[in-house]
Symmetry: C2
Subunit: 484 residues, 2 copies
């Protein structure tokens, strides 16, 4: 995910459920008799059936394993991205989706190239640096200048320009660990806006302390932005361990007049426009093919890891959920559409293209959701459903509690790639995952398959499959999404 | 540390202590009256006094911080190594050691240079690789060949040569996590001897799964050896995550005839002979200056991390221990000698040179010890003392129990750099540390200061200071070491 700026919300919880405002689905089904007698409604019975089969299935793990092993890194527009698109089409076909198709998305292909940073004096040492996504290159010979350190973007903005002019800015803001990842939103402006703010103050370049919760020497990349009215300067992230080391050099020098001189050399380039694709697979609805359950993830990743957590896990989870529903309950009444979006990391490019290309049919989407926060277990369901019916699927909400998932707020914007849909009245949900360790690996070379626990991704798969089954097999209709 | 091949041993423990075979030191001291009345002997009283002051001191942490921040990586013979020698002399002088001197050590300077590995087909991906220390380079254009995977060195040795000839060998042996680090010895032959065994089977190159317990994309370097009678081939380590990925590619290809083709390019070079130094600091004994308490660590490190755990921690621990003893108890009766050895990582080069240069005075060493296993807490004291007096310092052993340190065996060879001394009759001890996480970081870029917990290194410092004080202020003499 790119910049999910999560806000933890209180669960509305059991009290509302117990208030008993459920209006059960009335669609009786032939298959209902086969299904667990504990089900309150036919739709719930389908959810419970797929729950049972999902808990025996490793499909989501197998899919992300296939993607990371057989494709690996897939930055938008790259050869890896093209292989990922081909992989996705083949995978959806192999799994027996009724329709598999792709929609073109024009993307800028940014190439990282060589990156190197070193303290020249007084304590010569290499630092581990990663160019931020979209950064321009340094001159071929690099940039060598005095480092000025700030503890926040605000301090930089407030600084006397004379202290910054001609120097390299070092933004050293620590990120706290948190289950909901709430501190990402507080720190990520360093990454997104650091270059613009440093350039306004006359800096030659900016380096940031990685936006991450690990203590390691992996630098965290991620997208940054320029402002056409401000000079473009190169931007990179150093690892948290290197940030600590560099900060300690300042402390060692406090009694000295000697400057800390840094040399940065990054040879990133914009490799121009390429065509990528949103890859889409559907199980066509048997009764209401025009009513669409939209579950999604993004296919692209950053280029240094294999994109296991971000967002191979999501690809595995939503693809597996759809397939497991089909296998467990047969052809769904409504259409289940899996979208694997292009180019999320560089600005939800595929998602915006999807909206432009499908504007007329957005009204058919019953709800949309994206899995894009790794593979930690889901603990909360947030919704953006029409208020008057929001609590109708009380039986589903109660069933999710058995999976450790509490009902949360009704004000979510959903995952990144569906976050623009409520503006069009499309309901969304967000299945909040335990992100305690997510930002240890996010956007680093260390985002690899071994970071996914099979039991955790299976819990995700099961929750998604239950909700998908319920919504695809019921008449519950949460449209339109309330305005934000 | 290079290759401590530990064997856990049963503690002889409390029973022996309680058997009451203690022969207490008889040296009465003026200062004794000042010291805690719980002390059984004057020597113990000194140990308890320094325990108290050490528990208020962060000196060992401050020393390793200074070394990692102000010097950083220091592979033998490099500019970093030269800076480390200057740093060590200045640090020992600043701390007020009576004598600070250095002894030259000739070392080969190996330079890592560029290293790159990628799967060419069927699943193009970059792999994170680190050249093994001492490896020759590949040709400039790299080596591109089929990969053949073996789960152990034994399997490689037993293989049909026709299956290996002309290929790249991949040794994929997993290392288990263990408090005592016992599995290092089982896996490290892959690193040390992999190139020789692969070359005997006709391979072009060898890559090993990193000898490490992490799941990350840091490759673990470390020394490897050639055999003059066998062709030299390049040798590298890939990270454990990359090893898993590569192994998974084999699994994905099981039903296919397609080979996995790897391209390796490593441009390491032997940069010739350089002079490094064992740096030595002493507090001269007031009564028996010729009786020497030798405590040590190694100053060199691998070149990718800042050598915080290996062996900045040891440098901090033994240097601080000596200084704290001097400050707490005044001039020691026996000489306390701190040796910061050169070039441990490439074969205990400084330690062997020390023996050659000081052969005639080795007999004066009361005991020798090295701290070289990171900063995990000490849980066991192993010794190599004359059997008939081994249990005399029962009061010290009991006091160490209060620090969580049990008495272990009497057959240790001590740390790497003192392991040759028992052959000369020099007693040694080994203070066994909790190494549960040591091999997550060992020989990687991720061996940095943030991996050291201040409270853990302080426990080490205190235990070393207690033993050093006791031995420097008593007449207890464990010479000669029993033969191995």
């Amino acid at each position: 995910m790119r910049h999910k700026i999560g806000v933890a919300t209180l669960s509305l919880g059991l009290a509302m459920l117990l208030a008993g405002c459920a209006k059960t689905s009335s669609n009786a089904e032939d298959k209902a008799s086969e299904i667990a007698s504990t089900a309150n409604t036919p739709a719930l019975a389908y959810a419970l059936k797929v729950k049972e089969s999902s808990q025996k299935s490793a499909l989501s793990y197998d899919i992300v394993k296939s993607l990371t092993v057989e494709v690996g890194p897939r930055i938008p527009g790259s050869q890896g991205d093209k292989r990922a698109v081909a992989w996705a089409e083949a995978k959806l076909n192999d799994l027996g989706f009724d329709k598999v198709y792709k929609e073109p998305v024009r993307v800028r292909n940014w190439e990282r190239g060589f990156a190197d940073a070193k303290v020249v004096s007084p304590f010569p040492q290499e630092l581990i640096i990663s160019a931020l996504g979209g950064s321009i290159a340094t001159p071929e010979s690099g940039i060598e200048a005095k480092v000025v350190m700030f503890d926040s973007l605000e301090s930089l903005i407030a600084a006397d320009k004379a202290t910054v002019q001609g120097n390299i800015v070092f933004l050293n803001t620590k990120m706290q660990r948190d289950k909901a990842g709430r501190f990402y939103g507080k720190v990520v402006p360093n990454r997104v806006s650091g270059a613009v703010e440093a350039a306004k103050q006359g800096a030659q370049a900016v380096i940031i302390r990685s936006v991450g919760t690990d203590n390691s020497r992996f630098a965290h990349t991620g997208v940054m932005r320029y402002d056409d009215t401000v000079e473009k300067i190169p931007a990179g992230a150093i690892s948290t361990a290197d940030a600590d080391n560099l900060a300690a050099m300042f402390a060692s020098q406090q009694s000295s007049a000697e400057d800390i001189i840094l040399n940065i050399n990054m040879q990133a380039k914009d490799a121009g426009w390429q065509t990528s694709y949103n890859v889409i697979g559907e199980f066509t609805g048997s009764e209401k093919p025009d009513e669409v359950i939209l579950i999604s993830a993004h296919l692209d990743s950053w280029d240094e890891g294999t994109g296991a957590l971000d967002d191979g896990a999501g690809v595995g989870i939503v693809t597996a959920a759809a397939k497991l529903v089909k296998d467990a309950v047969g052809q769904p009444k409504r259409t289940i559409r899996v979208i694997l979006y292009a180019a999320e990391e560089i600005g939800l490019v595929g998602a915006y293209q999807y909206v432009r290309s499908n504007r007329d049919t957005l009204k058919n989407i019953i709800f949309a959701a994206e899995s894009d926060f790794g593979a930690g277990q889901i603990y909360q369901l947030d919704t953006r459903f029409a208020e008057d019916v929001r609590n109708n699927p009380a039986d589903l909400y109660a069933a999710l509690q058995s999976m450790g998932v509490e009902l949360g707020n009704n004000t979510t914007s959903g995952g990144p790639d569906v976050s623009m849909l409520p503006n069009y009245g499309v309901p969304v949900i967000a299945l909040k995952q335990d992100g305690t360790y997510y930002f240890d690996y996010h956007h680093t070379p260390n985002d690899t398959l071994d970071k996914i626990k099979p039991e955790d991704i299976q819990q995700n798969q099961t929750v998604w499959a239950m909700i998908t089954a319920y919504m695809a097999m019921s008449d519950f209709d949460p449209r339109p999404a309330p305005k934000g």
